[in-house]
């Protein structure tokens, strides 16, 4: 199965990269941009079919390594 993992910064955590990108967009006359938050997108190719156990293991991967839950949230999509 394939899994997509989205890691995003929690609300309130400063994102200087996002701010810099927003500044660039504004300087390009995209003045409608209010905020930019930069996150990570990961594609995982995994042995086996999707099931409860696989989902639980994916969650564990996120909790232990793929995301730092002090500052980041994560979302898993399974295909």
């Amino acid at each position: 199965m394939k899994a997509k993992v989205y890691v995003t910064l929690k609300k309130g955590v400063l994102d200087p990269q996002g701010k810099a990108v927003m500044g660039a967009l504004k300087s390009m006359n995209f003045s409608e941009v209010r905020d930019v938050r930069i996150g990570k997108f990961m594609e995982l190719d995994i042995d086996g079919k999707s099931g409860k156990e696989e989902e639980a293991r994916l969650k564990e991967m996120c909790e232990r390594l793929l995301a730092n839950t002090v500052i980041e949230n994560y979302r898993i999509e399974i295909e």
Partner: protein, 229 residues
């Protein structure tokens, strides 16, 4: 005293630490490769600066799963002294041995210069040689040194005297202007709950000899030595 200096793939301040411990302070120092699974006879462990695993994913995120880290965790749990400098600090937070996280500098720039630090804690095994309020000049060299933790954690660090030092002006005043990287509460170094694990973004090992411009970092090593000699 016998120091162990843990070397990860991508560590680059391991030799600086070795030099400070062995040549400046005349103590035993031994490198410990990150794949080791045993630690024997060490009084203090240093996790040095660098770019372990190329900072992939997050700084310290992969190094914290190196085989040696299980031993480092056990060593710390037994009360052993563990000092994490720069990347070593980042690894200790990822490993959960210290709270919070070191994020990208607010300026997005790699900053390499001496900073002023106001000593907040002078009662830990790492800081006994200092006086509270003393201003130190020690270099930083990092792109990811902006300390972040939730409000409760920051309050707990403050209330329990676990902030080692803060970025400050030459006169010791702490303000946004004296904050090089965006760290919350200008935090530059912290201790764990039991006071035997310390993380610092400034590099004390690079400020132990006059020829390097400052000897203010030597106090960290003097403090540690005074516990053992």
């Amino acid at each position: 005293m016998r120091f162990g200096i843990v070397v990860f793939p991508g560590s680059n301040c391991d030799h600086d630490c070795h030099h400070a411990v062995k040549r400046v302070f005349g103590q035993e120092a031994e490198y410990v490769w990150h794949r080791e699974t045993k630690l024997k006879g060490f009084d203090c462990l240093i996790l040095p600066g660098g770019f372990s695993y190329g900072d992939y994913l997050r700084t310290g995120a992969i190094a914290r799963f190196s085989p040696i880290m299980a031993e480092v965790t056990r060593f710390a749990a037994r009360g052993g002294l563990v000092l994490g400098v720069c990347n070593g600090f980042q690894i200790l937070t990822e490993a959960g041995l210290l709270p919070g996280v070191l994020m990208r500098n607010k300026s997005l720039k790699f900053i390499c210069r001496h900073v002023n630090l106001r000593v907040e804690n002078c009662s830990s095994p790492f800081t006994g040689a200092y006086e509270k309020g003393q201003v130190l000049s020690i270099p930083i060299a990092h792109a990811d040194g902006s300390y972040f933790a939730d409000d409760d954690t920051i309050k707990r660090l403050e209330d329990t005297d676990r902030i080692v030092y803060r970025y400050c002006a030459p006169d010791g005043s702490v303000s946004a202007e004296s904050n090089p990287n965006g760290s919350l509460a200008n935090i530059a170094g912290i201790l764990n709950e039991t006071g035997n694990v310390m993380g610092t973004m400034p590099h004390p090992e690079m400020a132990c000899e006059g020829v390097l411009g400052s000897t203010d970092g030597g106090g960290i090593f003097e403090s540690i030595l005074s516990k053992f000699t």
